[in-house]
């Protein structure tokens, strides 16, 4: 138990009659890189929202870094950093200001906050753009800035919801380099979702696959391949979840996401 930094027990989320997440239990060990995989609409994002205190579960328990994420919300929140699928930066503020505001919200107390922010911006190679407004940033730059921001309060866990979606291979590689580096040098536990199976295969030490709201597998990528007699994680994934295309119903959120694509060029 003590070795598990994320502990999820019998987690369930119902939206009216629809069961999005159905009695899910899993744990992530300290210092692990953990991939959370699944087809569209399988319950990935719903789970990540519950883990990060954005959504209340219908039932079940979540412990982050030993804190009850439902009862000790603020303690749990201090324990993780998150990079969302949709950006959550303020476009009208500079990169530096976005970092500064984060420090205030998380009550980060350092004598050398400025120094710390510049170090982190340097880490994601955005130092020279620190005083530029975020609205002038490309999608990849925003993602990098969000990673730097998520690290500012020294989290024990980093959640990444499809961190490489829509990015070119150069940026994707760079982002995984940062993340692997963090995991190795700072001992940060990484929990991520992705649709790119080769990324999960290369980077994750363990993967969980969720389908129709239930966990169908929790193994190392190697074991999964062995179990399903597949040559790649992608094939193992298809063997476990089937080849049927999942047609998700469009929500208000998706409609807005489309509008956003029309109005803002990334």
């Amino acid at each position: 138990m003590d070795n598990n930094i994320i502990q999820v027990k019998n987690l369930t989320k119902k939206f009216k009659e629809f069961i999005a997440v159905n009695n899910v239990s899993f744990e992530v060990k300290k210092n692990e890189i953990f991939a959370f995989l699944g087809p569209n609409g399988a319950g990935k994002t719903t789970t990540i929202k519950m883990l990060t205190t954005l959504l209340d579960p219908t039932s079940g328990e979540i412990f982050l870094n030993g804190f009850d994420a439902l009862k000790e919300k603020n303690e749990a929140r201090k324990s993780f950093g998150i990079v969302f699928q949709d950006p959550s930066l303020d476009d009208e503020l500079t990169a530096f200001e976005n970092m500064q505001f984060h420090a205030v919200l998380y009550n980060v107390k350092t004598n050398s906050l400025r120094q710390k922010i510049i170090e982190l911006l340097d880490f994601v190679e955005l130092q020279d753009r620190k005083d530029a407004l975020v609205k002038t940033f490309s999608g990849g730059m925003k993602r990098r800035l969000e990673i730097a921001r998520g690290l500012l309060h020294h989290p024990k866990i980093l959640f990444l919801d499809e961190p490489t979606l829509g990015l070119d291979p150069q940026t994707r590689n760079k982002i995984w380099d940062y993340i692997k580096n963090l995991n190795k040098t700072e001992g940060i536990t990484v929990f991520f979702t992705t649709h790119y199976m080769e990324e999960a295969e290369n980077i994750a030490q363990r993967v969980a696959i969720i389908d129709h709201g239930k966990i169908v597998a929790k193994e190392t990528p190697e074991q999964l391949k062995k179990l399903t007699k597949s040559t790649s994680l992608e094939k193992a994934f298809l063997a476990l979840t089937g080849k049927k295309i999942r047609d998700e119903e469009v929500t208000g959120q998706d409609i807005m996401r489309n509008h956003r694509r029309m109005w803002r060029h990334r």
Partner: protein
């Protein structure tokens, strides 16, 4: 405390950086001021009511505050999905403080917008009745801003996409403005309209500003203050309640 301050500061920084938006949002109040103020001025004068521009200016100030505040609250729909709001929701800050900081920022910005309209109206000939009452007028402007930012926050927290926005504009915000006595005196109206106007919270805000700036009020300025004060508390509480229930 710091979180409230930083969220307030964020709104001000955003406001002053978007110069095009400031100018754009002044277009409508200026049009109303010029077209109605000068257009109906002569008739109003003939009817023995005095200077229409002086009468209408508080109404137009309130209008720009109303639109800015409500829109600001409704922006939550966007902000929670693609904006900075999501960042604040996972931060170790209470929902109430987030809502308070955001609302105070929005109300400050809306009030500033009203002040700009007031300054511009003097160019077109608006004259203060008593300059010493300006702080009272500013107080009423800020109260209007708080009431409607609270209302917008409550609405924005409940909606999931922008689909309902037109509905709210046409069936809530426009009637609030047009039935408030912003454009016409409330005395001598058909009974039904008087009743509607006296339910409309904006009527009291406009009446308060008018009392302070022009020296003529329909209700009583203490009544105006009392009604707005109570409504501010109610709507901020409502906004805070719905905002606390926001799930993404």
């Amino acid at each position: 405390m710091n979180a409230i301050y930083i969220l307030w500061l964020r709104q001000l920084k955003r406001y002053f950086r978007a110069k095009a938006r400031i100018i754009g949002s002044l277009g409508q109040p200026l049009l109303f001021l010029i077209a109605l103020g000068f257009g109906f001025g002569p008739i109003y004068q003939k009817a023995g009511q005095g200077n229409y521009l002086d009468f209408i200016t508080p109404g137009i100030i309130a209008m720009s505050i109303l639109f800015t505040s409500v829109f600001f609250g409704i922006e939550i729909i966007w902000d929670k999905q693609f904006g900075f709001l999501k960042e604040t929701l996972v931060a170790p800050v209470s929902r109430f403080n987030i809502m308070l900081g955001r609302t105070l920022g929005g109300a400050t910005v809306s009030t500033l917008q009203g002040v700009i309209v007031l300054v511009l109206s003097t160019i077109f000939g608006f004259r203060f009745h008593n300059l010493a009452m300006l702080p009272v007028a500013l107080l009423f402007m800020f109260l209007i801003a708080l009431v409607f930012t609270g209302l917008g926050t409550a609405i924005g927290s409940k909606l999931d996409d922008m689909q309902g926005f037109q509905l709210i504009m046409n069936f809530l915000i426009m009637p609030l403005f047009f039935l408030s006595g912003a454009l016409f005196p409330l005395s001598g109206l058909p009974k039904a309209l008087v009743i509607v106007a006296s339910i409309d919270p904006l009527s009291y805000g406009i009446d308060g500003i008018r009392g302070a700036l022009v020296g003529a009020s329909h209700f009583n300025m203490f009544v105006d203050f009392g009604v707005l004060g109570i409504l501010t508390v109610i709507l901020l509480a409502l906004g805070a309640y719905f905002f606390s229930k926001v799930q993404i």
